[in-house]
């Protein structure tokens, strides 16, 4: 049965409203009176517990290995033409300019949403181009989807391969920033500038 013509726009508005509420309507969160430039979350996301495989083939216990750090978690894939390399480039460029006191307690974790093509070697080489300290993780599509669900981002979806066999993977475009209090209060959507990271990363590191 076709939906009444008013239902679709109303549903779309309601959905958009829910998303904006979750993202704090784009209003920056505060940390000790200083505002973040990232999008504040109305409800903090707890640091998830999961174990995936790192680029050396070793199990990586996310919660244990990132405990008491600022952890920037991102879902993406190596053939991503725009969002992933831009995010990684900007974070790496900013981290190079930050004091060691700030960066030594920071982790950047990249979970591939395309494990079929992103082999451990390729993942390590690709991340190493940005910063050798970036951590690449792989898991089964089901494991990755479960983690995406736990951190409240849209599940990644692989498109149908074209005639040459290549395909794109739809994935969440935001970087989730977990702070030492084991929660994420802010996310960084695509469009976050280096100036924003320079402003926010030291603030995130101060959260206790």
């Amino acid at each position: 049965m076709p939906l009444p013509s008013r239902v679709v726009p109303v549903a779309a508005l309601a959905f958009a409203g829910a998303i904006l509420a979750l993202a704090g309507c784009g209003v920056s969160a505060e940390n000790g009176g200083r505002e973040y430039r990232g999008a504040a979350l109305a409800q903090a996301i707890p640091r998830p517990s999961f174990t995936l495989t790192d680029t050396h083939g070793q199990p990586f216990d996310f919660r244990a290995k990132t405990d008491d750090t600022v952890t920037l978690l991102f879902f993406g894939y190596l053939n991503c033409p725009d969002v992933c390399p831009v995010h990684m480039t900007n974070i790496a460029a900013v981290m190079r300019g930050l004091p060691f006191d700030v960066t030594r307690k920071m982790r950047v974790v990249f979970i591939t949403t395309d494990p079929a093509r992103d082999t451990p070697e390729k993942l390590q080489a690709w991340l190493g181009n940005f910063d050798p300290s970036f951590i690449g993780l792989r898991g089964t599509p089901e494991q990755v989807k479960a983690i995406e669900s736990s951190v409240k981002v849209a599940p990644s979806v692989a498109a149908v391969p074209d005639s040459s066999g290549s395909y794109e993977v739809g994935h969440a475009a935001q970087v989730i920033a977990f702070t030492p209090d084991d929660s994420a209060h802010v996310v960084y959507p695509f469009g976050t500038r280096q100036a924003d990271w320079v402003h926010d990363l030291p603030l995130l590191a101060q959260v206790k």
């Binding site: 033409p81 725009d82 831009v86 480039t89 460029a93 695509f190 469009g191 500038r193 280096q194 320079v198």
Partner: protein
């Protein structure tokens, strides 16, 4: 194929695949037609006031404008690389205008000014050295602010307006240096040299601002998928370097040329 009439930032990954830009072709055709008319000697006059070399220089300028605006330079400069954007500025505002003005026939301009129509009145006002230098400086600084670039480059109309503003302000700025009409008795070679030096100080400031910045200034280039191995900041530093070296050397060369010509002129005996 998604046809755009003018290059603008689209945020999609760069591909070395030719794209047509019909608006650019029309603009370059219009410029070429106007230049062909204005570089041809006016009927009834005995000789052209410009040389063959100067006329060829004007056609080189038309070709440079075309290269700056059409694929691949146009889309690279509007949506991907600040360095190409800087090269476009150099072509449209600094290099093409004086080459075009040198190629046009003074008699035609004189005849236009003698008719004293609307065009003549506008030309008289906008080519007054103070007005031209001020307009050139304001346009140069305003169109390089991050807000202006990030806003204008995202639409075809905005990118077109920016290119047009550079070209027109460049024409007005170089006019009093290159053309002898309208006659300005007090605007001799020493004042022209000073005018060029003073009028391009903002250019120097702009190039240093880009060269020495520790973060990318423009979101449109920072967030664009990379085309080269350069980071957004390195690309911005190349842009500043181009403005400083090519632009600075060019202005210095023109000032030197004016000086040596003036020096070679027979001086009145005291």
């Amino acid at each position: 194929m998604n046809v755009q009439w003018w290059c603008s930032a689209r945020g999609v990954p760069w591909r070395w695949q030719w794209q047509p830009y019909p608006g650019v072709w029309l603009a370059v055709l219009a410029l070429g037609a106007a230049y062909a008319r204005w570089s041809t000697p006016l009927a009834g006059t005995h000789a052209n006031t410009t040389s063959a070399g100067r006329r060829v220089g004007g056609w080189v300028a038309v070709a440079l404008v075309w290269m700056a605006l059409d694929w691949p330079g146009g889309p690279l400069g509007t949506g991907y690389l600040a360095s190409v954007h800087a090269a476009q500025f150099l072509v449209l505002a600094m290099i093409a205008p004086p080459l075009l003005l040198r190629g046009i026939d003074d008699n035609r301009v004189r005849a236009l000014l003698d008719r004293n129509g609307v065009a003549a009145k506008i030309i008289r006002v906008v080519t007054k050295p103070l007005v031209a230098a001020l307009a050139f400086t304001i346009v140069m600084l305003a169109t390089h602010t991050p807000d202006a670039v990030d806003t204008l480059m995202r639409s075809q109309l905005g990118a077109f307006a920016l290119d047009l503003a550079w070209f027109l302000s460049g024409l007005a700025f170089w006019w009093p240096v290159v053309l002898e009409v309208p006659v300005r008795v007090h605007f001799g070679p020493p004042i022209r040299m000073l005018y060029l030096f003073a009028g391009t100080q903002a250019h120097l400031y702009l190039s240093m601002w880009l060269l020495l910045g520790d973060l990318p200034k423009y979101g449109v280039y920072e967030l664009a998928p990379r085309v080269t191995g350069l980071s957004a900041l390195e690309d911005q530093q190349v842009a500043g370097g181009l403005l400083l070296t090519i632009g600075g050397t060019y202005v210095l060369a023109v000032i030197s040329l004016l000086f040596f010509r003036w020096f070679a002129e027979p001086q009145p005996e005291v």
